[in-house]
């Protein structure tokens, strides 16, 4: 096995092995468990860095293992995979730190961190899947590994959320499987290839390909929370804050979105998908989801639920970007995959801080929170502004590219949708900021748990992660064009690299 084969496996192992070790650990071995977690997270970052350098230099990292005749477990760390891997690896580190602080002295932490690592492993697998078979394996693994996290609190309410979550995702998985096996039966393999495997198979009856596309999109659409398959996401908010942060801002929903990207670009091929008239309906669904999610968000009083619906809306930016035929849209969608992750995780961290520190769960309880917790609220503000697409935030960058893409693709209406969603997100975020900064705090907070120490308004490990991610949100916009020599370091630069490779000749502006 060469180094180029070993690296993808190492990336998987760097979270899988610590995870398994943690399961075996007795509850009280806090120190060792923390060490394992951090070691895994940092090791993974190091590996990812190597991969980034290699891939931008044109290296190919791939590994195959035959499971059945004609069916391989295949991993490939290409540019697209790395976009997702890097995002998850970085945010995993932050979330781990956050979770350590958040779950201090909580029961069943071994179980929690064990499954947490499994989720990240699954995410890595999804990102590096070299064919639909592998993709499906890890896609379902993600479902299974998240369930115990969603129901971690063990309350009947948590159980209800978990059950709904399972019902949706398992159903989605079944539909997806049908599509995959059907495709396999048609063409005898399920490989992902640059430009799409089907683009060369115009001989196949279109209706079959169209129904396969439908099945697959339905399958991954559940996790991507496309309306009307989004029902599970708000329910899953019963999970502890770190879970909502990483899984429902990054891992799970992004797995769905990422799946759509792979299916459109590397199974069907974007031109071929356009040829089969598959992109326009997809764009419509995405647009509808964007608007619907924003609308529902505006009417939620529960803070996490509001964020959840905002996620529903924001994730579809990615889908929309993919569905906009043309490199600009692609860049917009891909870059949003990263930007939305950073911004949304910030918001969830902050929501968690409000809940942990002051016991605030509802928007209506946020009055004056800014005075008690200025830093958290600052971070929240940055994230919220980003979501609205305000200038100097990552949100602005992705939105700009998306709009250009829409224009280039001659889909003017999409631009309208984006504007509308910006207004709506303003409508549901600004009141929060207004309450938090400008209104007078109540005489007593709901259930204050953590007392302030000077300017440190809450526990270290709760405070630092959101500040980092908030900073990243701004940085991603300021330094959008930055790159070290040939190695693109910002999400945008990387997205352009991918787009350039996907659309081959015509190089992205």
């Amino acid at each position: 096995m060469t180094a180029n084969e070993a690296l993808p496996l190492a990336v998987i192992a760097s979270s899988l092995l610590p995870g398994l070790a943690i399961f075996a650990l007795p509850e009280r071995r806090v120190g060792l468990r923390t060490a394992l977690n951090l070691f895994g997270a940092i090791a993974k970052l190091a590996l990812v860095a190597t991969l980034l350098a290699g891939v931008s230099a044109g290296e190919a990292y791939a590994f195959r293992y035959a499971v059945l005749p004609g069916i391989d477990l295949a991993f490939k760390a290409d540019a697209l995979a790395l976009l997702f891997i890097t995002l998850s690896a970085v945010l995993w580190l932050f979330t781990t730190l956050y979770a350590i602080g958040y779950l201090e002295k909580a029961p069943n932490r071994s179980r929690f961190f064990g499954f947490f690592s499994l989720c990240v492993t699954a995410t890595m697998g999804i990102a590096m899947a070299g064919n639909l078979f592998t993709f499906f394996v890890f896609y379902e693994l993600l479902t299974l590994a998240t369930f115990p996290l969603v129901v971690h609190r063990g309350t009947t309410q948590a159980m209800r959320g978990g059950t709904i979550y399972l019902a949706y995702t398992l159903f989605g998985g079944t539909v997806l499987l049908t599509g995959i096996v059907w495709l396999f039966a048609l063409i005898g393999h399920t490989e992902f290839t640059q430009g799409g495997v089907l683009s060369t198979r115009a001989d196949l009856p279109p209706w079959k390909l169209q129904s396969i596309f439908l099945l697959m999109i339905l399958g991954v659409g559940v996790k991507a929370a496309l309306v009307p398959l989004h029902g599970w996401l708000p329910q899953a908010m019963v999970a502890p804050a770190p879970v909502s942060a990483l899984l429902h801002a990054v891992a799970v929903v992004k797995a769905g979105a990422f799946g759509i990207v792979r299916i459109v670009y590397e199974v069907f091929g974007v031109e071929f998908a356009q040829l089969l008239n598959l992109l326009f309906p997809l764009a419509l669904v995405a647009a509808f989801t964007i608007v619907w999610g924003s609308l529902r968000a505006a009417f939620q009083d529960d803070l996490k639920k509001r964020l959840a619906f905002s996620t529903v809306s924001q994730v579809s930016y990615i889908v929309l970007g993919v569905a906009l035929f043309g490199p600009l849209g692609t860049i917009g969608g891909l870059v949003h995959l990263v930007h939305q992750g950073i911004m949304k995780i910030t918001l969830f961290f902050c929501a968690g801080n409000y809940a942990e520190t002051l016991g605030i769960h509802k928007v209506s309880e946020l009055n004056g929170a800014g005075r008690r917790m200025p830093l958290t609220t600052l971070a929240f503000t940055v994230g919220a502004l980003g979501m609205m697409g305000a200038p100097l935030t990552a949100g602005a960058v992705s939105k700009a590219w998306l709009m250009d893409g829409a224009a280039a693709a001659g889909m003017g209406w999409a631009t309208g949708v984006l504007w509308l969603s910006s207004l709506l997100s303003a409508a549901y975020f600004l009141p929060i900021l207004w309450r938090a900064w400008l209104l007078a705090p109540p005489k007593a907070w709901p259930t204050p748990r953590i007392a302030p120490h000077g300017w440190r308004e809450t526990a270290w490990l709760l405070l630092l992660p959101p500040l980092f991610t908030a900073a990243a949100t701004v940085a991603a916009a300021m330094l959008a064009e930055l790159s070290f020599g040939t190695i693109p370091v910002t999400p945008l630069a990387w997205a352009r690299l991918i787009a350039a490779r996907e659309y081959g000749a015509l190089n992205a502006p």
């Binding site: 499971v67 059945l68 477990l73 063990g154 059950t163 079944t174 499987l177 096996v181």
Partner: protein, 476 residues
């Protein structure tokens, strides 16, 4: 190969000699040797094709032939592979429950059961197969009855009459076959049994197959299974669900693709329809079962249904056969794991109602993990062996445009998920206050980990699919 039959016969009689409640280590060490033998045999079969042995040196049709091809080798490997962990489990199980009547003569009965299974998988002679069937059947019944209580004895009686009826029909079939052709050697019969076969041969085939279906508890012949498997002592339930029903199914498959291949095409839809019904019916009852072990037993009824879906799909591309083999192997391990895990839960909490396993997640993590992994295989979720079986089954169905079967398979998977998570979500719930003070037995590591090993094996199948398929294809 011969030793795989002689050895268990030997240690079975030896444990009789040793006396009541003795012989655990004899059995375990012998089973270890057998596992190694089976492994060696599988290697040989993969390398050199079918291994034959003419008992008495006469050779068919005068004598009895043993023949082990890929399928048989896989089953032999499976039998030893499941039996060894279960034996280790049983030793600990009957040690902590020294009063359990099932433990008195458990080891000899186990020995005869394994001997019967191995003899069955190796035999190529219809009448000899009848004797092995009886050996397996009576041993299984005795193991169930050993439970001692009225429910167990009642279940055992039901089981006994079912299995006797089954083997009776099989025997009559053999009698007719001998009457028509004057031989009972499968190898000799294969060329003789053509489409022009006299009607008596057809009737014989139907008799044998339906008798075996009764023994396999295919819907609607499943009535005897849930009480028997759900009521017996845990190690017994594991063995029965994992191996005994598989034995008669193996024989059906063997006859179907062997001697009766020419006759069965036009009735292939029948087992499939029954199988589909079994999938739905079994899952439905599993969803409604009150007792944990009853749930697992009903799930066996459903999973058996899957096996029978393969018959209309059997063809030159051996996908359906692979699916059947994969399903047999992974379900055997998964179901053994599930029963053993359930046994641990029942033993430690002292409750056996599904509604009462709340809080197990934090008290028996290993066991619950085992249960979950086994569940993965039953649901057919990746990366388990059950998933590969499901995949192959769907692939085979699509290859023949049988969308109805695809739907059944997928629906069955979702139902399996439903009843597995019925247990898991209960387990994750916080126990109601006061539960903590309930008197409980201490969990025993051996029990927990044997269950886990079995479950892990059922999942690992998913990564060793290649080897299994190659083995199944060997010697054909």
């Amino acid at each position: 190969m011969v030793w795989l039959i002689a050895l268990p016969l030997g240690w079975a009689s030896l444990t009789v000699l040793l006396g009541p409640r003795r012989g655990a280590w004899t059995a375990i060490s012998a089973l270890t040797a057998q596992l190694w033998l089976a492994f060696e045999l599988a290697q040989t079969v993969r390398a050199t094709g079918t291994v034959r042995h003419a008992v008495g040196g006469w050779g068919a049709p005068l004598g009895i032939d043993l023949a082990v091809d890929g399928l048989s080798a896989a089953m032999l490997l499976l039998a030893q592979g499941v039996a060894l962990p279960v034996a280790i489990y049983a030793r600990a199980y009957f040690k902590v429950r020294s009063g359990h009547p099932g433990g008195v003569w458990f080891w000899p009965l186990l020995g005869f059961l394994i001997a019967g299974l191995n003899a069955l998988f190796a035999s190529a002679d219809l009448f000899n197969l009848y004797v092995t069937l009886e050996l397996v059947g009576l041993a299984a019944v005795a193991l169930v009855a050993a439970g001692g209580g009225a429910p167990q004895v009642a279940a055992a009686l039901r089981y006994l009459f079912a299995t006797l009826l089954g083997s009776g029909a099989y025997l009559l079939g053999v009698a007719l076959i001998y009457g028509v052709y004057g031989t009972v050697s499968t190898a000799t019969l294969e060329p003789l049994l053509t489409v022009e076969a006299p009607r008596l041969a057809w009737i014989a085939g139907l008799l044998m197959l339906s008798g075996l279906m009764l023994k396999t508890a295919l819907f609607p012949f499943h009535y005897w299974l849930p009480p028997a498997h759900g009521g017996a002592a845990t190690p017994v339930s594991a063995l029965l669900s994992a191996l005994v029903v598989k034995a008669s199914f193996y024989l059906i498959l063997r006859l179907w693709i062997g001697p009766f291949a020419a006759l069965v095409d036009r009735i292939a839809w029948l087992p499939a329809v029954l199988g589909a019904t079994a999938v739905i019916w079994g899952s439905w009852h599993a969803l409604r079962a009150v007792r944990l072990k009853a749930l697992v037993a009903w799930s066996t009824v459903a999973q058996i249904g899957y096996l029978f879906l393969v018959f209309p799909l059997l063809g030159d591309d051996r996908i359906a056969l692979h699916a059947g083999g994969m399903q047999m192997v992974s379900h055997a391990f998964a179901k053994a794991a599930m029963f053993t895990a359930a046994g641990v839960i029942v033993h430690t909490t002292g409750r056996d109602a599904v509604a009462e396993v709340a809080g197990v997640a934090s008290r028996l993590p290993v066991t619950l993990f085992a249960f979950g992994l086994a569940g993965m295989t039953l649901m057919g979720l990746p990366p388990s062996g059950g998933f590969l079986a499901k995949w192959l089954l769907i692939e085979a169905a699509l290859a023949r445009g049988r969308w109805d079967m695809v739907v059944v398979v997928l629906a069955g998977g979702l139902l399996a998920a439903a009843y597995t998570f019925r247990v898991l979500r209960q387990a994750f719930l916080l126990p109601p206050s006061g539960e903590r003070r309930r008197v409980e037995r201490r969990p025993i590591a051996v029990l927990e980990w044997t269950a886990f090993v079995l479950a892990a094996a059922s999942v690992a199948m998913g990564l060793r699919g290649m080897e299994i398929v190659q083995l199944l294809d060997a010697g054909t």
